[in-house]
Symmetry: C2
Subunit: 227 residues, 2 copies
Amino acid sequence: MQTFNATHTSRIPTAIALRGTANMPQRPQPAASGVRRTFGRGEEIFAEGERCSVFFKVVSGTVRTGKLLADGRRQIDTFHFPGDVFGLESGETHRFTAEAVDKVVVIAYRRSNFSGLVQNDPAFGEQLMISMLSSLDRAHDHMVLLGRKSAVEKMATFLLEIAARRANGDRAELPMQRTDIADHLGLTIETVSRTLTQMVRDGLIRLADAGRTVILEDKAGLRLLCA
Amino acid sequence: MQTFNATHTSRIPTAIALRGTANMPQRPQPAASGVRRTFGRGEEIFAEGERCSVFFKVVSGTVRTGKLLADGRRQIDTFHFPGDVFGLESGETHRFTAEAVDKVVVIAYRRSNFSGLVQNDPAFGEQLMISMLSSLDRAHDHMVLLGRKSAVEKMATFLLEIAARRANGDRAELPMQRTDIADHLGLTIETVSRTLTQMVRDGLIRLADAGRTVILEDKAGLRLLCA
DNA sequence: CGTCTAGTTGATGCTTCTCAATCGAAGTGG
DNA sequence: CCACTTCGATTGAGAAGCATCAACTAGACG
């Protein structure tokens, strides 16, 4: 329930603290204060190919970013939780789509060009860089998952990651629906479902809240399954 | 056969031109001139978990970067060709392994902290940032491939990408072996081989140079297969 | 000329997908 | 307040794609 403002502390490396971008003499501030916006469940925040003039930081809710193939197949790169920044691009257009998983509040920051940004506030530039490298890092981990892990291994990895990112120790709250999980892990919705019920049978997890919360009964066992 | 030097022109967005980092008054130059190093086929350039004090730029040859699971399964993130930069990290240790695919010449640049680097040469910092965003971009594309594409679609995408990156229009020269391709595309070596021979039967490609060169006979057809 | 490594090809099986039915929870309207 | 609809999730049966295991081929090298 963090609906206050943008200086919300960030828990994961991708998040960028936007403090310290305040004092710049000549140019206008690139991303100091932003505009608050709200999106309903399933609403599109921006689409692949769209021109990008702003980037976003999640205040509350969950955002999914990903790509679509021509025939409708979908790959969800990441889920963004409160504190996370998304929508930064190297070019003039967005290379992926962002949608609200549930009710989402974001802050939109004006995106000036990087030269200006970095020149005016090198520390901010460095933070962006580190954030980018962390994203790249996680992208690489996800590639291992997509390319080389089995369904069970994918699910185990996902559950532990969600639990860790949202700092709820031994439970993973899943605001996204099964379809989203499937498209994130490179599986079908049926396999996601089957894998979860099998994990319940094996005593690894317990489902609550109509399947929206996964209680990690045996974290050690899950960790073994991550490969 | 480009074995001359580091100012070799880069063809793909990830590449960073390191010119223009020459004049800085107070601090020592962060990454202006580097040390030339050579690696033999299969040799390790750095390993996952190793401390990283330098990052690299390919002068000639091909480098593969990737990760290993405990049981030996491997995922190759990317192949790096002349002009490409690799080995930049946000933390103190390398998060992936880099190995020489064939005989490789690289230049190693001292890695100072980013603040210093960016402050001393904002333009260089911006270039690094753009390079990073491009890598992220390609990582996302590769996730779609790994998570949602079939074997044929993966091969077609790969061949076209290699041909485009190495700027050899209608032929893809493959310095890496089948195992590397398999571990890059999330397939087995057998499936890679079978897919290629099937493509030959379908008149899409032709193999030359003992299978090391793939001539793209029907680029339009291949493009259709990319999905 | 034998050995070694990389690649190809074949037969078989397993994991995951596909198609389809069912279930359950959350509305919605009579 | 209760059928009715709807949407998401689960479960089942069968199919398919790719992996696995194994044999074989072709260069490369001493």
